[in-house]
Amino acid sequence: MKDELLAIRNHLLSKPVLAALVDTHVFAGRNVPPPGYSLRDSGPCITFKVRGGLTDYEDALLEPSIQFKCYAETELLAQEVYRALFDALQTAHGAYLLHAQLEQAGQQLEEPETQWPFILTFYKVFVRST
């Protein structure tokens, strides 16, 4: 079975506009940025993880539902990261993904402990399983 998180991360990092915003700070399999991460020092970041989904009938395609959280120091910058994520993912295809589709548009939220603003959004992604 292919590492779907790696495939998604590689796809996101291959997008210049998104990479210019978040650099390599795309954290796979995480709900929040790693301990010690500083939005002020390291800039915006994205965390993402699988929240469900299935395979196709013959397990030839992985079809996970992915939760993305776009973090930044300000709400406006988080929105900018979210828009770049949308441009990178919506109906995307390429070397790593077969297709991606928005499941739930972004909603502005704030982490209760750190007060970090983030945009929460969900995509369904198709990845070839081999």
């Binding site: 196709d56 009938y57 030839a60 109906t91 297709h99 589709q101």
Partner: protein, 204 residues
């Protein structure tokens, strides 16, 4: 029949095969589960839905004046079909599903030219006939894997629905396929439309 046997409950997908009419079926006593059927049998790629096999018979009742209910019943017509949806969109599978007889054109990539495959549909009245079959899994009471196979000696195929191209749906393009069996008079009476085999024990 008699005592219920839990192991006789089969939970399995199926692999679809096709071959020229008259192709020898794989030896049920030696070709194991998951082993290629050999000869000119070709597995028909990935499917995106379960394979469904349906046998239907049409009957006529014989009634007499002396009784209220029929006293005899005859079968006067029968059909067998296989249905699934092919997951791979290729010229070969489109042609197979449409029972087209002409060959697919395949051109390899060359210097400055892309490779491609080509087929078409239209104005051909003769339907290509093929032998068809599928294999599923029977798991014995000891956990051994044995094949369950159904063969249709001769049948034609039809594209049985729409090919949906959508970038907004959460599904992908498939080729709906229906195979309709024909009677093969060269076979033994009673199995001229299909045969069912299930391996029940390993060779000694």
């Amino acid at each position: 029949m008699g005592t219920p046997v839990v192991a006789n409950i089969v939970k399995s997908g199926a692999w679809l095969y096709q071959a020229p009419v008259g192709e020898t079926i794989p030896a049920i006593t030696t070709v194991g589960y998951g082993v290629a059927w050999g000869g000119n049998w070709v597995r028909v790629g990935y499917t995106k839905e379960a394979l469904k096999c349906k046998y239907e018979g049409r009957e006529t009742d014989i009634s007499v004046e002396e009784h209220l209910s029929p006293i005899r019943r005859w079968r006067i017509e029968e059909t067998a079909t296989l249905e699934t949806v092919l997951a791979e969109l290729t010229a070969t599978y489109l042609q197979l599903a449409a029972s087209e007889a002409k060959a697919v054109t395949t051109v390899a990539a060359g210097a400055g030219t892309a490779g491609y495959e080509r087929t078409g549909l239209g104005d051909e009245v003769v339907l290509a006939e093929h032998a068809w079959g599928f294999e599923g899994l029977y798991l014995s009471s000891t956990g051994s894997e044995f094949p369950v196979r159904v063969y249709i000696w001769k049948g034609t195929a039809v594209i049985n629905g729409e090919l949906e191209f959508s970038k907004k749906s959460d599904d992908y393009v498939g080729i709906p396929l229906q195979i309709k069996a024909l009677c093969d008079p060269t076979q033994t009476e009673g199995e001229r439309i299909l045969r069912f085999d299930r391996v029940t024990a390993a060779a000694l």
